[in-house]
């Protein structure tokens, strides 16, 4: 969620019971602004909070002029001092995907993971590296996975310029109530995967400036998003069931929208059994 709309947004997302204490809210208002100044971000998003066993990580993301470029991610243990996380690589993501269990809450904690494949183990030993992952790497890989899988925006909120960069659509006035209840009005804010698989008929209806991302309706498994109207029907809240704790809110016919993650940082692999 946008740092500038943090107080109002937290009120709208609190239906799940998770939120921030008044102390954190107060300090975030100023510390996120300072982040913007120090790192020269154009936009700062408060991404959310991952609960570890002993402590919690508060995550913020900074965006540059092209909103679809890889974002810089920062974490903090107390919302006052922020540390930049290393940029994420595919190897980090695959390694972190093998880890199970909760985050510890200590960024320098090292996980030992057992190699299932004997070949991989040999390869690693040849390199001289020991199979250990630091919690920082796991953290950034998890954030990347969550953003890729369930980071969403309403349709029309961002436009792609002919030069290829993505920016906010100043003419976006919000989705109507009917549109907001449909999953096809929301897009994953990441590299599209399914876009080219659409039939020519479907592509003819798309507007290349706003429809350049994957929509939610073809997500597997079906039903992995819950759409609810809260606060007497004035806010549309989408919750992901794949990554429990990700909440997206949008007030129809206004420009307010955003998503935030409050949870353990673990993927819900039991989803097919639970639906």
């Amino acid at each position: 969620m946008e740092a500038s709309s943090l107080p109002a947004a937290l009120e709208l997302v609190s239906g799940g019971g998770a939120g921030l204490s008044p102390e954190k809210r107060a300090v975030l208002g100023s510390s996120l602004l300072l982040l913007q100044r120090d790192y020269r971000f154009e936009r700062v998003w408060f991404w959310g909070c991952i609960q570890g066993v002993c402590g919690a990580y508060y995550i913020a993301e900074g965006l540059g002029p092209d909103r679809a470029a890889p974002r810089s991610r920062l974490y903090s243990l107390n919302c006052v001092e922020w540390n930049l996380l290393p940029p994420v690589t595919e190897e980090m993501v695959t390694q972190a995907g093998r880890l199970k269990g909760r985050f510890q809450g200590d960024p320098s904690f090292e996980y030992e993971y057992t190699e299932r494949n004997a070949e991989d183990a040999e390869r690693l030993f040849e390199d001289g590296k020991e199979p250990m992952i630091k919690e920082e790497a796991r953290l950034v890989a998890t954030i990347e996975q969550i953003d890729r899988a369930v980071g969403i925006i309403p349709r029309g909120a961002f436009v792609k310029t002919p030069l290829g960069s993505v920016s906010e659509n100043r003419n976006f006035e919000g989705l109507s109530l009917m549109e907001a209840k449909r999953l096809s009005s929301y897009f994953h804010f990441t590299e599209p995967v399914n876009l080219k698989n659409k039939t020519l008929l479907e592509k003819a209806d798309l507007d290349p400036s706003t429809d350049f991302l994957d929509s939610l309706e073809h997500d597997i498994p079906q039903g992995s998003w819950t759409v609810q109207l809260e606060k007497g029907g004035t806010v549309v809240v989408l919750r992901s069931l794949l990554w429990l704790g990700l909440t997206f809110y949008h007030v129809p016919m206004t420009k307010q929208y955003g998503y935030v993650y409050f949870g353990n940082g673990e993927k819900n692999l039991d989803l097919p059994f639970m639906l």
Partner: protein, 554 residues
Amino acid sequence: ERGHGPYQPHEPGYGLYQPGYGPYDDQIPDPKSRMLAIQNAKAYLLKSSTTSGLNLYDHLANMLTKILDEQPTNAVDIIENISKDVKWARFQKKMDTLRDEHEILPTFEAAEKRKALFLKANGEGDEELEEEIGETPLPNVMETAFYFEQAGIGLSKDESYHIFLALKKLISVQPIQTCRFWGKILGLEMNYIIAEVQYHEGEEEEETEEEEVTEEGGKGEGEVEDEEEEKEKEDEPPKSTYKPPPVIPKEENGTGANKYVYFVCNEPGKPWVKLPPVTPAQIVCARKIKKFFTGRLDAPVVSFPPFPGNEANYLRAQIARISAGTQISPIGFYQFAEEEDEEEEVDGGRDTYEENPDFQPLSVAEMVDSLSTWVHNVQSILKQGRCVWLNPLQKTDEEEENEEEEKAEEPDELPQELQQEIGPPLLTPLSEDEGIQNIPAWTAQPSTNLIPQYAVAVLQSNRWPGAYAFASGKKFDNIYFGWGHKYSPENHAPALPPPVQAEYPSGPEITETRDPTVEEELAFKAAREEALATAEEEEEEDEESAEEDEEDDD
């Protein structure tokens, strides 16, 4: 027809807009012609379109007015959109002679319901006001919400207040002695808001009588069927020897897992629905399945092992498990009531407690540092599904009388004696809770490190993510916000179906034997021939001796 340029030199419109190139410019400049040109241009712009009734002049004027009023940045980039917006706005007013029926959004109805919460009921007189100010079972939801908010947990203040009023409505309708906001469970289509109540004593008896009647009726029918089957035993196909495991009766309302009654509603403003009491079979099954709640209480729960009930029962079972695992209080707040005859301690242990009037609250630092300063104040549920162990094989007096006939059949079929299950007694400290792998069962934190004097001790459960508890001085409370499932680091593995039941007891008469090999057959044949040969010889001897006997007789 060509209404716009570029104009060729021979056409009449040519040169209207280009200074120095007008058809009459080489003549004496006539100011009137310039004015005429302007008027012609304006007349052209004022021409109404045949399709839409607009004209370009008004449209441009509106657009420029809008731009100058709003002064957007980089207007040239979005000029087409602004033009579209202006046209759209004009269309709405002019074209429709029909007036749109005012759209009744569903949000309006929801708002009506929420507003109804805030209206005072009509029948309240002064007497009731006095009652309310005195002892009321209504919990102070806002106060609890404040403490939890210090830890970053809880709903928005709006929603908390709505829940507060909804609880007040519940209390005015039902005869309730104590009431507590238990928490919120999220679902796919709708969420559940749950209140934990205890009735006044004596209020609940009507329902239990109805249930007992149906149980007795069921037993009578079963006995009649058995007698009929015995008569027809010869003709019928083999009777199934399957005896289902004995049904463990549920605990009485008011004790054990059914100590509290739970009411749920989907949203504050909607009517409260009472959840049925929970049976041990439901708890045992709920431990094996993991399903999301849909939000509708009558939804079926499709799972394996098949859940005995619908979503209301599953919800109640999960609430029972969560309460048993995570309802805690600071040590010393509750104490056991002193009873005179402690010799009658049943296997289940004590199950009642009372508030300790001499409770001295510990400091927040102490509450956070060690988990032994907190205790469970709800009985844990045994593997059987009850809080107090019951031996299902013990027969009551009624059953013994009716089963005299069947005693002959049963002695071999009694299963082994079940071992008594013992759980941790009430008021055990949390340090006894086992963690999952190497994660402790609870995480304790103070709500703030900056202002320790006014910090609140907050505990989060790691076994049931979403269960929280706080303590500050003499105040404490528990709450649950979550999806209603237990945490397990391993993936959920659904139970496998049981092995196929053997239809017939295997014995020598029905087991197949191997076919004999050729050598065995030949040997068998040879042996038979020998036997036949000796038998024939014996017969011949017998016949000879018989004939001799006959001859002798003559």
